[in-house]
Amino acid sequence: MNATTSARTYHRLFIFFLIGPAFLILFAVVLYPFLYNIVVSFSNMSLRHIRDWSIVGPLQYVKVFTEESQPDFYVIFFKTIVWTVVNVLFHVVIGVFLALILNQKEIRGRWLFRTLLILPWAVPQYIVALTWRGMFNFEYGSINLLITQYLGLSAVEWLKSPTEAFIACIITNVWLGFPFMMIIALGALQSIPHELYEAAEIDGASWWHKLRHITLPMIRPVMIPAITLGTVWTFNNLNIVWLVSNAGEPSDNTHILVSFVYKAAFNLYRFGYAAALSMVIFVILLVFSLLFMRRTRATEAAA
């Protein structure tokens, strides 16, 4: 009896020793600031009230949803959804497509292709952003030079008009994001047992049937968590929008929610407002993730 109790204590201590340090550091760096942020979101903290701030109730949340700024919350929220859906869609489609091609045994030099294709992922994001910003330059940027010299089209004002600037940000982010999905898909493809395809070939299944009924369902369980994470990361990716559009240019028309938060907090010093908007973003992503994972799990159970 005594021996089992001490073994159980030892077991508990062992688990604590394994998990404790990681969670201690996460509490300090994530949980504490998060709770602090909740307090700030109910306060009037701003440049004028940097030390003498006080709790003002849900005022900042009301401002988030009703303030008549140019652009307002709903426009930016809509843009953020477009930004996230378009990016993740391209990441997944390009990633899975390239993985399917790379996974064919007959292709020679697969190692070389795979190596070159992951390069965009390896370059630090701020370098990516500033390099693409240079490439989108009207006069000297290589994108305009390429489309005028080789495609015979007229040069595009990439960074000076709202729609084009937004497209420029999306192009940049699609470029840097597809390798992650490609690698995840490649790992998933390699774990599919070969016998499944052999059996399907005996039954005379076409290429399309094998893709539709073996490959895609088999990589699905691996892609779902990657897509969830990818969506959350893209929704919250400040670097690309902020650096490619140079802080939302032209005139704050190129913002997604996180870059708007960043501007409110660190350029305009509206800390209370920024904190409230951050909480709204958090709730949006939490609800999305829970619904998405529940839905995909439900369909998995049904299948």
Binding site: F97, I101, L116, T131
Partner: protein, 276 residues
């Protein structure tokens, strides 16, 4: 057999097109770094510019404290890598192997940390670090960087441990290993691909981070590479040659690491599930 030839030709074509798209922007940086100082703005599309010169690289090491920034970055990144690997490999193991109260909540809360805009954590952290006297020290940035990659790396480690059969530890325990030895001697070496991924991600977070470093490391002797790079463009005009050369010097070690470890990337990135 003709269909197969068409399929393979199309495959090569697609791969080559995407490789060009993947590599071209990186070549752009090479081009900028090689341009002679008097022709930085150019409408030429050549990869190797006319009168290519390495003067930007020389300037970087002789006239700017580039070496200093590099050593600082290396120091910070290596400490973060060691911390990150130790914390993620142990926590991931517990999540994979044991059942305990709050396990599912713990895993979900790791995922939840990714949903809050990270930049908003900066203000409270900044105030906290001032109170602790950790502004202008590496301890502050190291702790923050170690925590940043942790949720993802713990998930990766957990997912990989899940693929290693539990019978291995049981056998080791029968042979007289205690729990820690079974983990340390038997399972950890088998998890090498995931450990490599964890190390790579931890290193990358620290090596390429700007926003946190800009708030905490205000003393220019302590600057890491991203801060140094940013200083080339904060003056009236961007020093594009220096910027290009420095960007390349920052990107090359990371690219080299990625390429050296690319075979682990495919096998080591197993995102686990919440259940179990």
């Amino acid at each position: 057999m003709k269909a197969k030839t068409i399929r393979l030709t199309a495959s090569y074509l697609v791969l080559i097109i995407f490789c060009v798209i993947a590599v071209y922007p990186i070549l752009q940086v090479v081009t900028i770094s090689l341009r002679p100082a008097d022709r930085l703005l150019s409408t030429s599309l050549e990869i190797i510019p006319e009168n290519a010169s390495l003067s930007a690289y020389v300037q970087l090491f002789t006239e700017r404290p580039f070496l200093r920034w590099m050593i600082n970055s290396l120091l910070v990144s290596l400490v973060v890598t060691v911390t990150g690997v130790s914390l993620a490999s142990t926590a991931g193991y517990a999540f994979s192997r044991f059942s305990f109260a709050g396990k599912k909540a713990g895993l979900l809360s790791l995922l939840t940390t990714q949903m809050f805009p990270a930049t908003m954590l900066m203000l409270p952290l900044y105030i906290l670090l001032i109170k602790l006297g950790l502004i202008n020290t590496y301890i502050g940035v190291i702790i923050i960087y170690s925590a940043t990659a942790l949720p993802f790396t713990i998930w990766t480690m957990k997912g990989y441990y899940d693929t290693i059969p539990y019978s291995l530890e049981e056998a080791a325990r029968i042979d007289g290993c205690n729990q820690f030895h079974a983990f340390y001697r038997i399972i950890l070496p088998l998890a090498a691909p995931a450990l490599v991924i964890t190390a790579l991600f931890s290193f990358m977070t620290a090596w390429a981070e700007y926003v946190v470093a800009a708030q905490i490391l205000q003393d220019s002797d302590l600057w890491t590479l991203p801060l140094g790079l940013k200083s080339f463009e904060s003056n009236m005009t961007t020093e594009w040659g220096l910027y290009g050369a420095a960007s390349l010097m920052v990107a090359v070690p990371v690219i080299a690491l990625f390429l050296a470890l690319s075979r682990y990337l495919v096998s080591g990135l197993t995102l686990g599930s919440v259940k179990g």
